[in-house]
């Protein structure tokens, strides 16, 4: 049952084959049995879940249900959920119970989805392995000695292991796509501004974007249908009307123009991963797509640009965690400065402190032009690269990450190697375009994700392309052995 699609489960709920309360209990039981191996949840919201499930059952009873009514999902622990602990993976917020609901979780709740709990993540969404969580690392369900990717590692592992039907994630530099790739699930990072950021604890405001993580493109489309759209509480949210993400799923791919950026297939790309990607591209050719090589010449500048812009914004966004109003405050502060310094030194982990310092430095007088302004200029070049390329092709495909999931602890002492993990994902955030990761095969028994990038607000197109692939392959239906153990 844990590997059923949303539409199948919705039909079973409507037919009263199962109730939402039963479905919810089933998932809570699975979490209790299997999650100790994974650590994918920080908080289980059992009471909330069962209450929502009972409400969903009433709605179904009254014939007043949407497709998501009664479907148990999980939320990354950086969405504020009224009355439910929201830690952002940090000690800083280990006592933070938000007094309000984020737009994303609120919309999903209104659509009838049941919240099982809050998933583990790299602290403040800073990381590519989920090893930066105050609440412990998350394990990859395909191999418990490897990482699930990050920062939405908990959401990816939970969905892959069947501990939630779907989950929300956020993607600032690859944080939905890379864990989706590592865990063999489907994830979508929408266009910047497509999904409201209201109630999402900010890492880098100009890059952060929430999106769905699920077993299939179709399930992602169901979640998107509920979570996307203009929100007057977020000034950067787009007023462009939402597409219908479901109605176009079955459009044929005949004549689809796929661009393969040569920079995505150069040095550093694992040969096994490259094989999987090329096999997937062949599959698309069989479906009638045309493939051509393109160039995104400034790809190599995306890492330095991202690692100036994101930490700069983060250094400012994280200033509010000062021990004054909420979150961690040190014991017996001597004076104000002591309170600030110790609260922040104790509350933030190493990676967060590092990025705050990098960002503070980049914005400082005398360095601003050389770092922040320069990075913004590069950002415009990268955006231009995509705009140019997407005039020639409909979608761009390539790997999500250079390798499959790596070993726990294998890169924690090599920050540059860790940052290079994001080489294929960062530029998408800098440009603000949408992109997906879909399961495309295995290399050394570990899942490999194919990245599909599209033009602004082309989510429906991406979901259509992904869905057509998934209609003709079964990589997305593979389940890790540990998930079958309960």
């Amino acid at each position: 049952m844990f590997d059923q699609s949303i539409s199948t489960l919705a039909a079973q709920l409507r037919n009263k084959d199962i109730s939402s309360v039963e479905l919810t209990r089933y998932f809570l039981d699975r979490i209790a049995k299997l999650d100790p191996q994974l650590n994918s949840y920080i908080t289980l919201s059992e009471d909330v879940a069962l209450k929502q499930a009972a409400h969903a059952d009433t709605q179904i009873q009254h014939g007043d249900a949407s497709l998501l009514t009664g479907i148990p999902i999980a939320h990354k622990d950086l969405f504020c959920t009224a009355g439910t602990l929201t830690t952002c993976g940090s000690k800083m917020l280990n006592n933070f119970i938000p007094p309000y609901e984020s737009t994303v979780t609120g919309r999903l709740q209104n659509a009838g989805a049941v919240m099982l709990g809050k998933t583990n993540m790299d602290e403040f969404a800073m990381g590519s392995s989920n090893e930066n969580s105050y609440y412990g690392a998350v394990k990859n369900p395909w191999n418990l000695d490897t990482v699930p990717g990050g920062s939405s590692g908990g959401s990816a592992a939970a969905v892959a292991a069947g501990l939630a039907i779907a989950a929300t994630g956020t993607d600032t530099g690859g944080s939905i796509r890379q864990p989706a790739s590592f865990c063999g699930i489907t994830g979508l990072k929408p266009t910047y501004g497509r999904v409201s950021r209201f109630g999402m604890i900010a890492y880098a405001s100009s890059l952060d974007q929430a999106g769905p993580m699920a077993k299939s493109a179709e399930d992602c489309a169901h979640i998107m249908q509920a979570m996307a759209g203009f929100d007057d509480k977020d000034s950067t949210s787009s007023e462009t009307p939402n597409d219908d993400y479901l109605s176009n799923l079955n459009a044929p791919l005949t004549g689809l123009k796929i661009g393969l950026p040569k920079e995505y297939f150069g040095d550093g790309l694992d040969a096994g991963v490259a094989d999987v990607i090329m096999a997937a591209v062949k599959e698309f050719e069989k479906l009638g797509a045309e493939v051509k090589e393109i160039s995104l010449p400034n790809l190599n500048l995306s890492i330095p640009s991202y690692y100036v812009i994101a930490p700069s914004e983060a250094s400012s966004n994280l200033s509010r965690f000062d021990g004054v109003r909420f979150g961690h405050r040190c014991e017996d502060p001597k004076d104000l400065l002591d309170m600030y310094m110790r609260s922040r030194a104790e509350g933030f982990g190493q990676e967060v402190q590092k990025r705050i310092m990098v960002g503070t430095y980049a914005l400082s007088e005398g360095y601003y032009d050389a770092y922040y302004l320069k990075a913004q200029k590069i950002r415009r070049l990268i955006k231009q690269d995509f705009t140019n390329a997407l005039q020639e092709v409909d979608v761009i495909m390539g790997p999500v990450a250079p390798t499959t999931a790596f070993g726990l602890g294998s890169k924690t002492n090599d920050p540059v190697a860790m940052y290079l993990e994001d080489i294929y994902t960062l530029s998408v955030n800098l440009a603000g375009i949408p992109a997906m990761s879909i399961p495309a095969g295995f290399s050394n028994n570990m899942p490999v994700g194919l990245q599909i990038m599209g033009n602004y607000f082309a989510e429906a197109k991406l979901l259509n392309v992904a869905h057509q692939y998934q209609q003709n392959t079964d990589w997305h239906r593979q389940t890790p052995d540990m998930a079958k153990g309960a």
Binding site: C80, G199, A202, S235, E313, S316, S319, R320, Y368
Partner: protein
Amino acid sequence: MNWEVVIGLEIHTQLSTKSKLFSGAAVGFGAEPNTQTTLVDLGMPGALPVFNKEALRMAVMFGHAINAEIGMTSVFARKNYFYPDLPKGYQTSQMDHPIVGKGYLDVTLDDGTTSRIGITRAHLEEDAGKSLHEDFHGMTGIDLNRSSTPLLEIVSEPDIRSAKEAVAYVKMIHSIVTYLGICDGNMAEGSMRCDINLSLRPKGQEEYGTRTEIKNVNSFRFIEKAIYTEIERQSDILEDGGKIVQETRLYDPEKNETRSMRSKEDANDYRYFPCPDLLPIELTEDYVEEIRQTLPELPSQKAVRFQSEYKLSEYDANVLSSSRAMADYFETANSQVKDAKLTANWVMGELSKTLNQEQLDIAQSTVSAEAFGELLIRIKDNTINGKTAKDVFQAMWLGEGSADQIIDAKGLKQVTDTGAIESMIQTIMDANQAQVEQYRAADEDKQKKMIGFFVGQVMKASQGKANPGIVNPILAKMLKG
């Protein structure tokens, strides 16, 4: 040494929007701590700012009023620093692209001289909360009601050369923002606060001296006194061959001194950068022009009109137009009285005197402009004389009724009946025969002096109600015999 003072002012004006700059919370003074706040003002994780378009309209109005370039694209920037009453750890302000660019004001001093003060820029920013140090037993209380209240920071060029000029400039800004209705102008409640940048240089020297900044001065009088005090402090140091330290200072009105808050070395690096949560504000020509069209008459325009329309003196016109409330009061009253000089004299005289005594603003006058006009009509039509009118006004002020009600109730109507006045004079002449004889024997010059005695007697007998315009000719005629 002959020193020249160089002053530039930064005036923080609180815009009188209904809600805050970036949240829907109400703006108000004196509410219970932390009751006028939303998630945004509290700096809650995940909360996002939404820009209040009303503040934008007000800023553009101000830009027009000071003849400024309007920033067609303006950008909010974050000013980062830690302070307990700054909930986000940054203040959202504007840096490189302010909403109002270069403009100017022509400021007239009491002696009639006019000087042009350049305005560098005016930008929108949010206010911080308040730290409360009393009543918390060694701890600090934080009140975030003021957090995210909209401010327009108006930055002048260093064009001001005296304390008087500074005060005249601030008064003019005060009068403009209250005219525009974009600020309540209540300085005691902090609706206008002023930072004073001041330096001295030897007269004739082009280069500026080292300046100090005096923070947060909040009354016209304190601005003047703070400037005098700081000039004296700086010139004492310079005369003794010392050097001015560039620093931020605080003015203490009780001790009438400024003292150091922090030096330049301690100054923050604010790490300004464009706020990624807010899009740049893009204005259209139509929008800017539409606001220009709806701009109310400004004080300087009004003063010119008062001179031409009401034939008032320049002085009277300037005084009456200095505040919109006073100008409106004058015009409302005069629309009934239709004697601008009489109305002007009474508004600037008896009314202003009483308001000053009670320390009230004209908007708080207990006598409305309409009621005041009715009183002046009774002077104009000779129902009462000016002296009686002052008593009637005081009664009106105390709420005893309208001018006519009070005149009736107290029987203050002037006696204009010539028969009654003649018989009154006859009685007085009969009782003072000796004085009448003396008068008749005197020459014309002496008579002019002596007639005052009889006028006084008539006024006394009539309890002040006799109309002097009628009494005088009758008296002169009857005394002549």
